[in-house]
């Protein structure tokens, strides 16, 4: 309690001198009640996983639209241009909806698993990401039997750890 009251005086006097050259050191301010409430909302596992699911769904939609537009057979001898357009649009819509559902489920399961594991362990680690990736990969490829589940688990865990390390380095 004694430190935080001495901090703003020192920081504000130190920032006057170096105003032009470098960024100003902001004095310490306690979080407002809205910030605390926002943090409490985002600490909730359900809210976080639903938000991740929605974002995954959006990503899946975009990817499905893009990939669906890329590969579709062009048959100009059986249909007119308008029929071709309608057919292509339906294909794209179907593929993007499937992809949206897959990615939404993947995002939801991953985020929920990571949140639950991190709350239980009370630690912020890459182990949380690996376990969550394993759960996601295993649950998504559980249809192919236990061996496929193991391979899916290992593969998705490795992928998510790599992505996490990549984002940690570049932000």
């Amino acid at each position: 309690m004694a430190d935080s009251s001495a901090e703003p005086a020192g920081a504000s006097s130190g920032s006057v001198g170096s105003d032009e050259s470098s960024t100003q050191i902001q004095p310490i301010r306690m979080p407002t009640i809205e910030e605390i409430r926002a943090q409490e909302i985002w600490n909730n596992c359900a809210v976080k996983s639903v938000a991740s699911g929605v974002m995954g769904g959006g990503l899946g939609l975009m990817m499905g639209l893009f990939l669906g537009a890329l590969d579709n057979p062009i048959m100009h001898d059986t249909m007119t241009a308008r029929q071709q357009f309608v057919f292509t649009a339906k294909q794209m819509g179907q593929r993007s909806w499937n992809s949206c559902k897959t990615f939404a489920v993947m995002g939801l399961v991953f985020s929920a698993a990571e949140c639950i594991v991190e709350k239980a362990r009370a630690k912020h680690d890459t182990t949380n990401t690996a376990i969550a990736g394993c759960v996601t990969g295993g649950s998504m490829s559980a249809r192919g039997g236990p061996k496929a589940a193991c391979i899916g688990c290992a593969g998705f865990a490795t992928f998510s750890v790599l992505i996490e390390k990549f984002f940690d380095r570049h932000t």
Binding site: M1, A2, N43, E118, H124, N128
Partner: protein, 85 residues
């Protein structure tokens, strides 16, 4: 004010004031020690981001709860007289 005397009898005003001062010092010391202990235990010293993430939040919850419980228990044992050995 004179009818509802908050102090027990026989305690003068200065004595009550010094007792309150001691109590306040004890509380401040408890808070500082608690914050320092739980900060050293729970927060990763690499300071990658400014906000507390979820693992640190639940660690701080558990740390404060345990510290408070231990503090209460030790206080009770000390105030009961000789500690049972």
């Amino acid at each position: 004010m004179a009818s509802t005397n908050p102090f027990p009898e026989g305690i003068a005003k200065e004595q009550a004031f010094s007792m309150a001062q001691t109590e306040m010092e004890y509380r401040v010391e408890l808070f500082n020690k608690l914050a320092q202990t739980c900060f050293n235990k729970c927060v990763d010293k690499r300071y990658k981001e400014a906000e507390l993430n979820m693992g640190e939040n639940s660690c701080i919850d558990r740390c404060v709860s345990k510290y408070w419980q231990v503090n209460g228990m030790v206080g009770q044992l000390l105030s009961a007289g000789k500690p049972p050995m």
